[in-house]
């Protein structure tokens, strides 16, 4: 099969799905908590003389004040501007001059910063990360220039791309109240008004050791890392970080249906998302079974959707399902299909609904469950191979309401899932009243 096509557009989702195989039983993390509340997780991996150093804040786009969408991500960019010790714009240059690579990222439930460096630079980068946790300095010019940069970022990601606008509209329709319906990067009209004061107020409220997790993976001894953490982060004071209280979803009673038509669309697409529990939110007993259900239903070329829609009926060139079990609040379970040339979305949707109805009524073969289980457990082994995967798995989980122990229990939970649990999860979650169906269509061309 052509993986490039299958993966297209769903790469990030594959990664999100991949974050599930978080197996402490495989990673053997060592943990410690500083007196100021900062959690420290160390994964020793001595294959190469390098370390991944990360600080994760339990703060993401879903924690933003109303009307200030994009401020978490904007602040993430501004964190590279400077402190009294590190002059404006020098942070990344210092890392590079020390042979390191750095970057940062923002999602709904977290904001993360990382430096990948030779192990003898760990002291340096940890000192720099601790420094900017409390000493950020922002000039008006820095803020204005960076706002222009994130507006360009939004144009690149979303405004130039009808498929991304379609995804944005679907999220907005999926959540009636919860801020997961607002794009992480923010709405354009709100980004344009974000100020220096907004950024600093957000920074002071949330950037503190008690709201952060330090994760170090690589050629290090845990005890030495704990000592370094005491040295750099230990002196920082706790802050009165407010609890994470997001508006919660009311009961969803109406199936939603969106059509996005755009002249810039050349290939139609179909997608449906259902509001779904995670390991931290809602009926969390369904979360791990749902991971297996998603894989059996639409995880690859042997999945039911692919066999039925792509191979047998030839209505679609691609069809599948994906789900991530990690998230502080209710997440989504998503179905998707790309119609074959000349096939209408109605035919694709009807076939998909029919296939789904049969699965929900009659169940799935036991062999399929074993195949999906094998795949998920193997992914946990493959995850150990990349030094930078394990810190991401822990960061994602620990900022999303999970504990190290829950991460550790994941492979055992996967092993224990029964077919009855899988089907119960599927039947509980895939309800049309909880769903948004989205159609992406080319603009009809006149005279053609």
């Amino acid at each position: 099969m052509l993986r490039k096509i299958i993966a297209l557009g769903f790469l990030s989702l594959a990664i999100a799905g991949f974050q599930a195989p978080a197996a402490a039983a495989l990673f053997h993390p060592k943990v410690h908590t500083l007196a100021n509340g900062m959690q420290v997780v160390v994964i020793e991996d001595h294959r190469a003389p390098v370390v991944a150093h990360m600080v994760w804040y339990k703060l993401g786009a879903a924690d933003e004040p109303p009307g200030k969408s994009g401020i978490a991500h904007f602040l993430e960019h501004l964190m590279f501007k400077g402190t009294p010790k590190v002059p404006s714009g020098q942070f990344s240059k210092i890392i590079a001059r020390n042979g390191g690579r750095d970057n940062a990222f923002t999602s709904y439930d977290y904001t993360g910063y990382f430096q990948n460096v030779a192990k003898d630079k760990l002291d340096l980068v940890m000192g720099m990360e601790a420094d900017r946790m409390t000493n950020l300095v922002l000039t008006a010019k820095d803020v204005d220039t960076e706002r222009a940069v994130i507006l360009e970022e939004r144009r690149s990601r979303t405004d130039n791309n009808p498929s991304a606008q379609w995804a944005e509209a679907m999220s907005a329709a999926q959540y009636l109240a919860h801020p997961y319906g607002i794009p992480v990067i923010g709405w354009k009209h709100e980004i344009e008004k974000l100020s220096r004061a907004d950024a600093l107020s957000f920074y002071r409220r949330y950037y503190a050791p008690n709201n952060a997790i330090l994760i170090v993976a690589g050629d290090v001894e845990a005890r030495a890392v704990f000592a370094l953490a005491e040295k750099h982060f230990g002196p920082l004071a706790r802050a009165a970080t407010p609890p994470r209280q997001r508006a919660q979803e009311p009961p969803q009673r109406a199936a939603r249906r969106l059509i996005l038509k755009d002249g810039r669309v050349s290939q139609a697409g179909w997608r449906r998302s259902y509001l779904a529990p995670t390991r931290s939110a809602g009926a969390s007993e369904h979360a791990v079974p749902l991971s297996l259900f998603a894989d059996m239903l639409g995880g690859g070329t042997t999945s039911r959707f692919y066999r039925e829609l792509v191979v047998k009926r030839k209505l679609a060139t691609n069809a599948g399902a994906y789900y991530s079990s990690t998230g502080l609040d209710l997440g989504t379970f998503t179905l998707y299909a790309t119609p074959s040339p000349g096939v209408g979305l109605e035919a694709v949707e009807a076939a998909l609904d029919e296939t789904l109805a049969v699965v929900l009524k009659d169940g799935l073969p036991a062999a399929d469950l074993e195949r999906s289980r094998t795949g998920l457990l193997a992914a946990a082994v493959y995850a150990r191979d990349n030094l930078f995967t394990s810190p991401r798995i822990f960061g994602d989980a620990l900022t999303s309401g999970l504990s190290v122990e829950q991460v550790e229990a994941w492979p055992d939970e996967v092993r224990a899932v029964t077919m009855d649990e899988v089907m119960a999860a599927g039947r509980a979650v895939l309800k049309i009243t909880h769903s948004v169906t989205g159609l992406l269509l080319p603009e009809a061309k006149v005279g053609k």
């Binding site: 099969m1 190469a48 390098v50 960019h77 590079a96 042979g99 990222f105 360009e152 040339p341 191979d385």
Partner: protein
């Protein structure tokens, strides 16, 4: 939640290209040349701590072997090798891979046809057997051919309105008007429809021969265990098959500007001109120079001038793209339509400035420190290391390259930089393609 927004940006192509000349941190003492009983050579790094194995291999040729009017044959072939082979039909082959948790994929690029296999150590024998079948006994079942062809055509239709795809396709078509490098590897909708099973069989017979094969292996396996597996997997392929030579070429179109009008708020700009081939004596000087100009992210002059000082873009970059038969120096920027002229003026000024004066001593020192210091950061997964073992062999850098690499970079002098800057950084050499509604930049014809 899946949405993740990052501070800085990397295009897929950038990652790919970086891998081609990125450092490997394993010291050379760990790299071993394995010669199988049947005479097949592979480079191996033994890594016993994790029970898995990564294999990457490639055959010289790839997309350059596509026949006229059948562009995309190698790409279609790459999608069909795991769609039924030997005793397994398509479904059985895919099921077997999943039952074994084997990851197998193939890819055709401008100069090579390559493959990748990843398996848990416990399933090693079975995984190699699947690879053997895929390479030697693919079925090309009518259903699978039709399905993968439909997937390719759908992708091509999707690309018709994608700004980055439009820009890249036009840039290469303009720069290489009468060379295979000018055509997209996936072909056109017409060529994808025209390819027959006979075309696939003819290409299968030519694409893979042992004298054009290079292999990199990383994982929990000894040389003695690997040798027989190599013979079983690759031994039945033809020892040698003559292929038509690909002509040497260089990009043309210097100074040209091509604008494709599309109703989008941000213009996608691709710019580039002649680069240096990997075996050019000035390669390392050019590599260091490009790092300073536009390869070094926040340490680069382009990011500093375009993004940090002026807020003109989220992403601006340049990279060296050495092909087997040509060499390109490319760059890109995405900026709102109103400010495209301004952004390109700044970028051209930076080309001219560094072209005339080179870089500063401090920049040279910082670049060397980064390029050598970040060397070990590439050793972060078995697949990456296997890919680097492959690249080092493909580029004939020698098995001791890892020991010599730091010296090669450290030997670059200010005089070397000035010499190569005069050759490489000429704004008048740039061919510029813009997709969007740019202000301040118009087509040159």
């Amino acid at each position: 939640m899946m949405a993740i927004v990052m501070r800085s940006f990397q295009t897929a192509i950038l990652c790919l290209v970086l891998v081609m000349f990125a450092p490997l941190s394993a010291d050379a003492t760990k790299v071993r040349e394995v010669r199988s009983p049947g005479g097949i050579t592979a480079w191996l790094v033994r890594e016993p701590t994790i029970p898995l194995l990564s294999i990457k291999f490639s055959f010289v040729g790839g997309g350059s072997l596509d026949q006229p009017g059948r562009k995309g044959t190698a790409n279609l072939l790459s999608g069909l090798l795991d769609e039924g082979a030997g005793p397994y039909n398509s479904l059985a082959f895919q099921t077997r891979m999943q039952d074994l948790a084997v990851r197998m994929s193939f890819n055709a690029d401008r100069d090579s046809f390559s493959g990748s296999l990843r398996t848990l150590s416990t399933n090693r024998e079975a995984a190699f057997e699947l690879l053997r079948l895929a390479l030697n006994e693919p079925h090309f079942e009518a259903e699978a051919v039709a399905r993968v062809r439909r997937q390719i055509i759908t992708g091509l239709i999707e690309g018709q309105e994608d700004p980055g795809t439009i820009a890249a396709k036009l840039w290469f078509a303009t720069a290489f008007p009468s060379h295979p490098y000018g055509l997209p590897g996936k072909g056109s909708i017409a060529s994808a429809k025209a390819i027959t099973v006979d075309d696939l069989r003819v290409l299968l017979g030519k694409a893979m021969a042992r004298d054009r094969l290079t292999i990199g292996v990383v994982g929990d396996i000894s040389a003695a265990e690997l040798g027989p597996l190599l013979d079983k997997t690759f031994g039945a392929l033809p020892a040698s098959v003559a292929i038509a030579p690909v002509p040497e070429t260089m990009p043309v179109g210097a100074g040209g500007v091509k604008v494709v009008r599309k109703p989008i708020p941000q213009s996608q700009v691709m710019f580039g001109g002649p680069g240096l081939k990997r075996d050019d004596p000035d390669w390392y000087a050019a590599y260091v120079l490009n790092y300073v100009l536009g390869g070094g992210g926040f340490a680069s002059r382009l990011t500093e001038e375009v993004r940090e000082k002026r807020g003109l873009a989220y992403s601006v970059y340049s990279y060296l793209y050495p092909l087997d038969h040509a060499a390109v120096h490319m760059g890109g920027v995405g900026t709102q339509n109103d400010r495209v002229g301004e952004a390109m003026t700044v970028i051209k000024e930076q080309f001219a400035l560094a072209g005339k004066n080179g870089i500063t001593e401090a920049e040279l020192i910082n670049a060397k420190t980064y390029l050598n210091g970040s060397f070990p950061l590439r050793l972060t997964s078995s697949g990456r290391i296997a890919g680097l073992l492959l690249a080092i062999q493909r580029q004939n850098l020698g098995i001791d390259y890892l020991d010599r690499r730091a010296d090669l970079i450290n030997a670059v002098t200010m005089a070397d930089i000035r010499r190569v800057a005069k050759r490489l950084l000429r704004p008048e050499n740039l061919l510029i393609v813009v997709v969007g509604q740019p202000v301040g930049l118009t087509s040159s014809e």
